[in-house]
């Protein structure tokens, strides 16, 4: 037995180890970066709640030692919106996969961004429904192979940064699991920023997606991400769509300010209701 201690162990429910994720999976990297972002942000983890949906990434809520909610498929964003409305003093983070957030939860995603709920959405995009064995997902590049796209997928995938940007998110970034420092930094920035902040994390699924599409193992994914990624901060999100084995534009694409849902509510009600209205608390003390 090694006596090495995982540096983020105190943030994990060690009594639930070993976890379910496969060797080479990108989700562990995301957990690691998330914990580093919490530490860097200085936010007391007991003043933060983690919300996940269903799927491999959805299991993060169960492994992280914080107040955590493993909700229903596609619904972590409205759950988190309710949580934040009830407890604006807490930081609320959604960690889930692209099948959960963008396919079954797509409507909640665009409306969460539109109303600028003060929640942080960190989306692991591995291009497939991994937990159910590898069906085609809403971001799967054209021509990729999946159990339900045995001859290649033929419907156009979503470009997530563009979707988030055009729906109204105030912060939009994309990194791969190769870009651990940049990812942790983006998560830290998102945690500090009021409003609907979205970070897409392009992640490998060696067991299910990579194998079927002959993309190699977890290490090959790192080599590919290193070679194919190009940092373009402020890129036009319309131009950052992904293709099978194609280039990956990463960076911080959007960083703008507008009132959060609760701030906008106060802005509307204070002048109209006057003394009849007590301004609602709107956020964490950042």
């Amino acid at each position: 037995m090694s006596d090495h201690v995982n540096p983020i162990e105190r943030f994990l429910r060690m009594d639930r180890m070993p976890h379910i994720w496969c060797p080479g999976c990108g989700i562990g990297v995301v957990v690691n970066c998330f914990v580093r972002a919490i530490e860097k942000s200085g936010i007391d983890r007991d003043r933060m709640a983690v919300v996940s949906g269903i799927g491999c990434t959805g299991r993060i809520a169960g492994y992280i030692k914080m107040d955590s909610f493993h909700t229903t498929h596609g619904r972590p964003i409205p759950f988190a919106t309710g949580l934040k409305v009830a407890r604006p003093d807490l930081s609320v983070v959604v960690l889930s996969g692209e099948g959960d957030l963008i396919s079954i939860g797509g409507n909640h995603f665009i409306h969460g961004a539109r109303r600028n709920s003060d929640i942080k959405v960190f989306c692991v995009n591995n291009f497939t429904y991994a937990m159910t064995g590898g069906q085609v997902g809403p971001t799967a590049p054209m021509h990729s192979i999946a159990t339900t796209a045995p001859y290649g997928s033929y419907d156009k995938p979503f470009n997530l940064p563009f979707l988030a940007d055009s729906s109204g998110a105030v912060y939009v970034a994309r990194w791969t699991t190769y870009h651990v420092r940049q990812l942790a930094r983006s998560m830290t920035e998102a945690l500090a920023k009021p409003g609907f902040c979205f970070v897409e994390i392009v992640a490998p699924c060696p067991t299910i997606y990579s194998r079927r599409n002959r993309l190699g193992d977890g290490l090959d994914a790192m080599r590919y991400y290193k070679k194919a990624s190009k940092v373009v901060n402020g890129a036009n999100t319309r131009m950052v769509g992904l293709e099978l084995k194609g280039p990956i534009i990463v960076g911080k694409f959007v960083d703008r300010d507008r009132p959060t849902l609760l701030e906008a509510m106060n802005n509307e009600f204070i002048p109209k209701l006057g003394k009849k209205y007590t301004p609602y608390p709107t956020g964490v003390n950042r």
Partner: protein, 388 residues
Amino acid sequence: MPKADPRGVLSGVHFLDGDQACCEGALAAGCRVAFGYPITPSTAVVERISRRLPLVGGVFVQMEDEIASSIAIQGAAWGGKKVMTVSSGPGISLMMEHVGFAAMTETPCVFVNVQRGGPSTGLPTLPAQADMMQARWGSHGDYEIIALCPNSPQECFDLTILAFNLAERYRVPVMFMMDEAVGHMTEKVVIPDAKEIDVEQRRLPEGPKEDYLPYRAGENMVPPMAPLGEGYRFHVTGLTHDEKGYPAMDAGAQAELVRRLVDKILLQADDICRVEEHQVEDAEVIIVAYGITSRVVLRTLQMARDKGLKVGVFRPVVVWPFPVKRLRQLARLGQTRAFVVPELNLGQISLEVERIAAGDARTVSVPHAGGALHDPPEILRVIEEVLG
């Protein structure tokens, strides 16, 4: 028991419809966060609550759909608020996913269903009582909920408070089963002083945080519910879970959890059930009716008694859990020959009555597909046939 926060209580005598009275009941009960989506005939509830909540320190957000509304309330419930959402048949069908989630995670919340004719889009502006079985069985898996059936605007106020109190006491989704007729009926509603309104408070855990087991049943087979953001570091999942709240994928954990979720309601039905009875003592025929139909049958009762017929009325005010014990007693009274069950569906509760009567008394359904109410003489004719 603690009393209501006076800010939310519109004390006085009002002229309100059932939808509005339900909204006022929710505010009196302490509801401070609501999410909803418009649908006839429940829209007046969300319209009023969107106007009233900002004045009492609360928040209403109109969500993108009923699915979002039904899970957003649960986020807010875990944030410590008393919460509700409001809809009608088609929207309630969409919410069923989260009735199951609330049952599984033991999240206190209230779902108001102003029933209309179905299936599908059905009769948006006309009454029915056809969601009674959906209220109980609509989500997948074995679980129990509580369902109440008001029959007047006054009860829409009073029983909404009871719905919130039961949701908190049992940590269970409560279905508030109105119908179009009750929702749109306008009558006198008396709202008492806040100090006369009992409001159930959520039971919090005691003892060291490290030892807290989020799903260890306490008093009443219900686990205390930890507040968020105070270092309990608890986990909530819709997966089958153990006392720690951790996923537990085996038959033993499933049996233990599901049995408790069901038993905490069924074994405590005596505390939950509310019934109303009229002249059952000597009745040979007992009309069993709930919601709006329980008002219609009072006319039938009067007509029958005027004719010298020994008829009574039994009304479950709480329909789920069903008042099994009392109905069985009535079935076994020597003189009870039959239960006559008029309802605005094709016989949902009448099957429950028949099961409970177990042959000790006949059960005769008086079905109505909805869109209008029963005609009192129509029910009387059935009674006369039964009495032959």
